[in-house]
Amino acid sequence: MNIREKFPLLFEEYKDMYYRVAFSFMKNEDEAIDIVCGMSLKAWEKLSCLKNEASFGSWSTSILVNICKTRLKKSKKELLLYKNEATPQNDIDEQLTVREAVDRLPMKFKEVVILRYFNGFELSMIAEALKIPLGTVKSRLSRAISFLEKELGDSL
């Protein structure tokens, strides 16, 4: 079975992860769904560029992240906040502040934070997906944390 034949199965396997990553960026269900669908078409179109089948996950994630970034850049809209009604009020306040602070991060820091903390990506996978060295991922995470600590200050 070649990669094109496997594509639907691979996509099914990663579908939930794609949705969560897209949602982390967009904070909107419809937009996240749109992006995942658009990403599937782009991945299918560019499938011949995938050299190593084993890296399908990171390769497709990089397409997804790029689409999210492009969409965010294009729309320049205020991101909606993710609300969970079951969360106690004081937790919401704290988390909203954290999310706002994450949103204020420059994109290169925001993307590593979203992939690492919100989606549980390994550092090596983040490096592969964002096509940056592992050391750069670590330094960006470190700087992002410092930035967030500074931003949030006493509220932590």
């Binding site: 094109r4 579908k15 949705y19 996240a32 078409l41 903390y117 919100f118 967030l148």
Partner: protein, 407 residues
């Protein structure tokens, strides 16, 4: 672990516990479901392999055999594997069907590919508005559709979409039926479809004009004959036309294929005018037994220049409009007339008669003669063997009605 990291992880856990809604599943199913169907092409591969084998067996080398079946023509017989060509180029993606919510079932029946276009054929069981969009993640392109042919015998609504292969970047199309969309996946092999080229090595010579047949390319939508013509002399001195252009046909089983288009590129070769020419014909039908290329030259009528003056009556001018028919060429059932005048004509002010019936001519070109103060040459083409033309008006808005009888 820092406190901020804990908070971030907590936030992340909430996202991790999210499950996509049915909306995502439904949309993704629309995209993913057609794919496995389209990818299961084992049968197609076997068919293709068999076809390739058949083509190898029947490898076409043009046979330079004079054929006496066609009186008045010289001919080259080309062995044909038309059926194999059809099998090779036609992709049947398992007749993918989808029933839309309005109850219409749309079926994509097949694809036909050649160098210039890809055609997608399909049917709908009800009369519907059907359009096709090429799905490209960055942009969507609506395709030209020849839509809406009803087959009364089968009670089907047939549609055809034509796509330029250069626009094809993926194998997904979206068919929209009365506003509702469905994604269809196409066979990726279509992008590697190759034309079948038959090498023909045969020269003919007519009255000093050499015709060198090069190749016949066949596919499902057309066949293209490439050849080269070497004229013995340069263009006709005055009008720029050349004589003895051969009439070329592709004949299948004793029937000439219709001509779709032709093109020529010229250059000079050792003082002679050489044309690299290409002529596109209708496709070779399947199950064709014999393909023959017919070549014939048509006698050219040469007429001496006709000179006449037209009186100018209105607008208070004493000028005289002068017309001169500088060249007449009758070939291929057309009459070409070059008229030189001392002013510009309107585009449609030259008409003709063919057996008493008015015939509209087409001004195919005009040129100004830089050597003369008022010298314009107009090139008109008329269908048929024209004997009478009428020049009615010219740009000075002067009424001139002159009937010229061609010899």
């Amino acid at each position: 672990m820092k406190k901020i990291e804990k908070i971030l992880y907590t936030e992340g856990n909430k996202i991790q516990n999210m499950t996509p809604t049915d909306k995502l599943d439904k949309k993704m199913n629309d995209i993913l479901y057609p794919l496995p169907k389209a990818f299961n092409f084992k049968k197609l591969c076997i068919t293709c392999a068999a076809t390739v084998l058949a083509i190898v067996i029947f490898t076409v080398t043009a046979v330079g055999v004079r054929n006496s079946d066609f009186t008045g023509f010289d001919s080259v017989t080309v062995d044909t594997v038309a059926e194999a060509i059809h099998r090779e180029n036609a992709f049947q993606p398992k007749s993918i069907s989808h029933t839309f919510s309005n109850g219409t079932t749309v079926t994509v029946n097949g694809l036909v590919v050649d160098n210039d276009r890809m055609m997608i054929f399909g049917t709908a069981d009800k009369e519907s508005t059907i359009s096709l969009v090429l799905l490209n993640s960055s942009k969507k392109e609506l395709c030209h559709a020849d839509n809406g042919v009803i087959d009364f015998d089968k009670q089907e609504y047939n549609f055809t979409f034509e796509i330029k292969p250069s626009k094809l970047k993926n194998c997904l199309i979206q068919i929209i039926c009365d506003g509702e969309t469905q994604i269809f996946a196409l066979n990726p092999d279509i992008f590697t479809a190759k034309k079948r080229v038959y090498k023909i090595q045969k020269d003919f010579e007519y009255e000093g004009t050499t015709i060198d047949l090069k190749s016949l390319q066949s596919n499902l939508t057309s066949c293209v004959l490439d050849y080269k013509i070497l004229f013995p002399k340069e263009l006709r001195e005055q009008s720029g036309w050349f004589e003895n252009e051969p009439e070329i046909y592709v004949n299948v089983d004793n029937q000439n294929l219709g001509t779709m288009s032709s093109s020529m590129t010229s250059w000079l070769q050792l003082g002679k005018l050489s044309f690299s020419a290409s002529k596109r014909f209708e496709p070779i039908p399947p199950q064709t037994q014999k393909v023959t290329i017919l070549i014939k030259t048509i006698p050219v009528l040469k007429t001496e220049p006709i000179k006449l003056n037209a009186e100018i009556g209105s607008k208070g001018t004493n000028a005289t409009a002068e017309f001169e028919i500088i060249d007449i060429l009758k070939e291929y059932g057309k009459t070409k007339v070059a008229i030189k005048g001392n002013c510009l004509f309107f585009k449609d002010n030259v008409t003709a008669e063919l057996d008493g019936v008015p015939v509209m001519g087409e001004r195919v070109n005009w040129a100004r003669d830089e050597k003369e103060e008022f010298g314009y040459t107009h090139y008109y083409e008329f269908d048929g063997d024209i004997n009478i033309i009428t020049i009615e008006k010219y740009v000075c808005n002067v009424n001139v009605n002159k009937i010229i009888e061609l010899k």
